[in-house]
């Protein structure tokens, strides 16, 4: 009968922990980075662009003409 190679006998938990720690760090950093650059930065940019040349009085006049206010016409 052919002999199989001897399996690993010791430090099984250490090996598993090392693998999963490294994986967890990479995955969590990856998720955080993709959220920051996929969601947070574009959102900040969108708000900055919106408010750069924002005229609130003009906006108010448009809304008033559309007739949504109760306090004025």
């Amino acid at each position: 009968s052919g002999t199989l190679p001897k399996p690993q006998m010791h430090r099984l938990l250490a090996k598993r922990l090392r693998f999963h720690f490294v994986g967890a760090i990479i995955v969590s950093l990856g998720v955080a980075a993709s959220y920051k650059f996929g969601v947070a930065e574009p959102r900040k940019k969108a708000y900055a662009d919106f408010y750069r040349n924002y005229d609130s009085m003009k906006d108010f006049e448009e809304m008033r003409k559309a007739g949504i206010f109760q306090s004025t016409k």
Partner: protein, 171 residues
């Protein structure tokens, strides 16, 4: 096959329901099903049950058990395998073999999902009352126009998708 089994029962021959007669040379499958009323249940999470698989041993097997009490280096390979088969029903590889049960399970799950869909459809036709006025298309159009007039979510949301000069949705 059933005739033979019935004959065995009638003549009180051993071999049906008695796990003891287990030829050391045979494979585990030649026995067929084990009786359901045993205490032997091995699974991956509980691999060493309290009782051995074969409790009623014939003379040959009892002799082997006596030999087991001595030095194990004197046991031949076939004897070691026979002792294993006395103690355990299946090897780990046999116990952990995969099956096609998942196909049946998924099939039944999908079947009942489909059946539920039919029930819900019937319910929508025969049970639900009329839609309220706020869900008619006319009302919903007026509601949307009001939200756009108020410029709801103008930065990234609804009003940011509407082109106020051309009075249409942005492309």
């Amino acid at each position: 096959m059933f005739f033979r089994a019935a004959r065995r029962l009638v003549l009180r021959k051993p071999g049906l329901g008695i796990r003891g007669i287990h030829n050391p040379g045979d494979t585990a499958h030649s026995k067929g099903k084990i009786a359901p009323y045993t205490n032997y249940h091995a699974q991956r999470s509980y691999p060493m049950p309290d009782e051995p698989f074969c409790t009623e041993l014939n003379a040959e097997q009892r002799a082997l058990k006596e030999k087991e009490k001595g030095s194990w280096t004197q046991l031949s390979h076939a004897e070691k395998v026979a002792l294993y088969r006395l103690q355990f029903h299946e090897t780990f590889a046999e116990m952990n073999r995969r099956s096609n049960e998942w196909k049946t399970v998924m099939g039944c799950v999908f079947f009942f999902c489909g059946f539920t869909a039919l029930l819900i459809w019937w319910q929508r036709v025969y049970v639900f009352p009329e839609k309220p006025i706020t869900l008619t298309d006319e009302w919903k159009a007026k509601q949307l126009q009001r939200i756009l007039d108020m410029k709801g979510n103008p930065v990234q949301g609804l009003a940011s998708r509407w082109d106020y000069e051309k009075k249409e949705w942005k492309k």
